[in-house]
Subunit: 353 residues, 2 copies
């Protein structure tokens, strides 16, 4: 049976990227050696790393003066690395959900944190004051657990840092508006195990504190992400995913794809009397679509879960802290998978209306 992969991450990747990884695990670049067993210092893998960085920059249209590095440890390690490298006295953290909250918590170990937060996570804070003497403001562009997304590149007057773990490459981004963008790659880019960082070079090197070598962005910039052994397989798959993104219209193409999927699903959520969306419409994510059953149909939750499961859909259960359902519509997910989900919603409606 065809599977429809709605997992929140690790999550669906282009089949071409997975197929290429399988071939490379059999024989990497004609070396006769598996990708799992080649030296990262060999010219074949050095070419992969160089091409991945170049294509990453090309597709996101990253201006001069920015570096792109690949690290291990996940976005959660970035929650500490960002303040280690950038927080002198004070930073602003926009708390829009679980992950944003975790990022702010780490920053408090390094200096004063001004938190911006709505009473709940079902909408994004707007029109808030930003202290202009802060070192930076940190946002989480897409909130996977609650389903809100910042679909613009805001200007707060101070350096902007964004965790784009779950929406990088889903839309064009004006990188020049940012001081630093980071993310775990295990949604739109690669299998888990690699983290990307886009950083404006001139913001680094201004701290008095001693930064451990591995936690200093300059270490990895200087060594082209090869200061220590990089996660070879995930970086290889990332390159193949980037090739797929480019072949499918780049970030403009992805945005078109993603809007089509999100529009289809939100239209059904709004139309179908059994379901309702959970977040403010203007803040709805095109990557993480959260919805619940209307109160009078709550008893059908298990039926809907069973129905979608029977049709090969996986990963639709809402995060344990929110409940209900969540469909992650990452780049590689096909419109036909969203159509299958919408069809299941209609089918349940037909049975119970």
């Amino acid at each position: 049976m065809q599977k429809h992969n709605f997992f929140a991450g690790p999550s669906i990747l282009p089949q071409s990227a997975i197929d290429a990884t399988i071939e490379a695990l059999k024989d990497f670049a004609g070396t006769g050696i598996s990708l799992a067993s080649v030296s990262h210092r060999g010219k074949e893998f050095e070419a992969v790393m160089a091409e991945a960085v170049a294509l990453f920059k090309e597709i996101l249209n990253i201006p001069e003066g920015y570096s792109v590095i690949f690290l291990g440890g996940g976005a959660s390690l970035q929650f500490a690395m960002v303040p280690f490298n950038l927080l002198k006295t004070k930073a602003v953290y926009v708390n829009t959900g679980t992950w944003a909250s975790k990022a702010g918590k780490e920053a408090k170990l390094f200096g004063e944190v001004v938190e911006v937060k709505n009473p709940d996570y079902f909408s994004l804070p707007k029109n808030f004051e930003v202290p202009q003497d802060a070192d930076y403001i940190h946002v989480t562009s897409n909130n996977t657990i609650y389903g809100t997304e910042l679909l613009t590149d805001p200007d707060y007057g101070i350096p902007l840092v964004s965790d784009m773990s779950s929406d990088i490459f889903s839309r064009p981004v004006d990188v020049s508006k940012y001081a630093l963008i980071y993310g775990g790659a295990q949604k739109n880019l690669a299998p888990s195990g690699v983290t990307f960082v886009i950083v404006k070079d001139e913001i680094l090197g201004k701290m008095d504190r001693k930064i451990p070598t591995m936690l200093d962005y300059r270490t990895h910039i200087k060594e082209n992400s090869m200061f220590n052994t990089p996660p070879v397989i995930p970086i290889f798959t990332a390159l193949e995913t980037l090739k797929w993104i480019k072949a499918n219209g780049g970030t403009e193409g992805m945005l078109k794809r993603n809007n089509a999927k999100a529009d289809l699903l939100y239209a059904e959520i709004d139309r179908n009397p059994l379901f309702k969306g959970t977040v403010a419409k203007e803040d709805r994510s095109i990557m993480s679509v959260c919805f619940v059953m209307n109160d009078e149909f709550k008893h059908l939750e298990d039926d809907f879960a069973a129905l979608t499961k029977s049709k090969g859909m996986v990963g639709l259960k809402g995060h344990r802290s929110v409940g209900g359902f969540r469909a992650s519509l990452y780049n590689a997910l096909e419109l036909s998978s969203v159509q299958a989900l919408v069809d299941a919603m209609k089918e349940l409606e037909q049975k119970h209306k």
Copy 2:
């Protein structure tokens, strides 16, 4: 042509582990989803993680009171995490090579470091005094670049920390002698991208300093290495490698295998007038065999490199800081590959004697 993989790391892994990874990338555990795209929170991957930890403990015969965790970031990140978690005022670092030196450098950010070092790296320091008021002593059990190895589990009277990146699972280890053992897994265990830590629980939680969440071992112990998204593919491959180790006699079986390979190669190095070993015989590594050409045959270095290359051997070039040749004889390397290398050494001798 059959390849003989002597890479220093990432390096040769059991073919069964690579084959299983390829199959899982096609369809993981009958889920119909690729290993690259499954949720780490699904029961199938949680089973992989649990079995990997259990088998890791079983094969190394790890006593009660120790935790095993899998992290990202590489051993280089451990160079900072170890002192973050364990260094109160003073630590002893035995500097036996490039990696040991890097570990000591990071520790200096956290407290006083007493360094133990020979005039060069071609032998291991012995019979040195260990200040008994130090928080711990750090050793690097195998030095890949120079080719020395500590083949015993020493007792220095204070907590012992060892970087076993390049010899874990190569021999039985008395874990009870150690406070903490860590290593990048990309030699004897897995593709690059995952780091293992074996830690005695009671040594943790004694620091006054604030430790960032991701750098605190207790975070990962508490969450069974699932505090954040783990490197799924490398952990899967690690489990398959552990199964192979168990099926091949465990650490006793590995030691027998590795001694046979090392004995064969060192015997030829010592016999063949063209070559000589570079380190003190009593400190010779069974994992990283370093050798050079005798002075009167130095002009044959390129010939030997070409000869071995023509026979499908890769990864034999010595590290740029040492020169000459290095054969990494990790667990998965077959005796027949070492025999092929020895045959090439004899062939060169026949031509030029």
